[in-house]
Assembly symmetry: C2
Homo-oligomer: 186 residues x 2
DNA sequence: CAGCTAGAAGCAACGGATTCGCATTAAGGT
DNA sequence: ACCTTAATGCGAATCCGTTGCTTCTAGCTG
């Protein structure tokens, strides 16, 4: 949960971290992402700026940290009765959320302050978990299912690539087409 | 070639732009990307910081600008006699270049300081051009070829996704596997 | 070819972000 | 309950980023 290994997770550190995260969320909503500064966050969180610089090192790393938390899915994928329906629904929702202006901003922030790629790795893990849940349900139904990696390569990767490298949104039909390709002769 | 429309392409502006770009390349190599600052670049380029801020607005946009130029492929894809061989070779080289630490850094920088996504769009266009060249050659040979979009979705997107979101490099065999999937029953 | 115009770069000063050393506090273990 | 040490608070010094104004030069016009 913390960007740098927290050797002492107890009370105060956790409180500070939560206060800072909350302050970032509030301020981004109030003054806009580009206007947020470290001293501003520190004041709102009741903390000194040096604390933030020491723990996160950088405004970008802090924003990256917060962005990853907002990219974490809150609910399990819906169960619509079949693998195809579940994947279609999940891919459409994923595309919608990620392609929205705020979604794009969070993705960019998450990648931005992330020298070692660990935050990006967490985003990828979230998607993999959701897909695993869908696939495991399908296995329980006795349906033939593709590999998780295959779904990531065929559905998640193209969606993210287009969002990042090809401004100009894609529709829900594109998501369904990708799902069809992923399930084809699985 | 310039981030903001250059209404006066003549002598001085062009010289300044080239000097600044060269300074960035040198400094990134010398002190590392994270240690580069605008005043540093300005001093090296023999320019005042305000000039850089006015033309690029931001260190990130400047780095993005330089990164895109370094991501531009210098040579056309090799002609090895068959679509499969050409695509294999291209995908392997692409993966190699992009997955290297400096490649990752350039990709991140290109995406980073890019509010409107135009730099990212250029990167995508570079890859599309290279793929088009390979596919057109194959058409000339009478080979059946997949759609460019299909190759992007099946080969380029997974590679970029893994590089960006899954630290922990992929080998050349992964690139070949993706190409095989893209050509399968094309 | 000379003068005009406007865009681009130089200059300087201000405000704020970032860093650093040192004192203080509070976890976690003994 | 005490001790060790990580983590935070505090304040000063530094450097970056920003802005208004001036100067210069490229490109146009007559």
């Amino acid at each position: 949960m913390s960007p740098k290994p927290m050797t002492r997770p107890g009370g105060r550190s956790a409180r500070v971290q939560e206060a800072v995260h909350a302050a970032v969320r509030e301020l981004v909503g109030e003054v806009g992402r580009d206007a947020v500064t470290v001293p501003m966050v520190a004041a709102r969180a009741g903390v000194t700026p040096s604390t933030i610089y020491r723990r996160w090192g950088d405004l970008q790393e802090l924003l990256s940290d917060v962005a990853v938390e907002r990219l974490r899915p809150e609910t399990d994928p819906a169960d619509l009765g079949s693998l195809r329906a579940d994947l279609d629904a999940w891919a459409e929702q994923f595309l919608d959320e990620m392609a929205s202006p705020s979604g794009r901003a969070y993705i960019r922030d998450a990648l931005l302050g992330d020298p070692d790629g660990s935050n990006a790795g967490r985003c990828s893990a979230y998607a993999a978990e959701q897909i695993d849940a869908v696939l495991n349900r399908a296995v329980g139904r006795g349906e033939p299912v593709p590999d998780t990696e295959r779904v990531i390569d065929r559905v998640v990767a193209p969606i993210m690539y287009r969002i990042l490298f090809r401004p100009g949104g894609q529709g829900a039909d594109y998501a369904r087409e990708l799902v069809a390709n992923a399930l084809h002769r699985s």
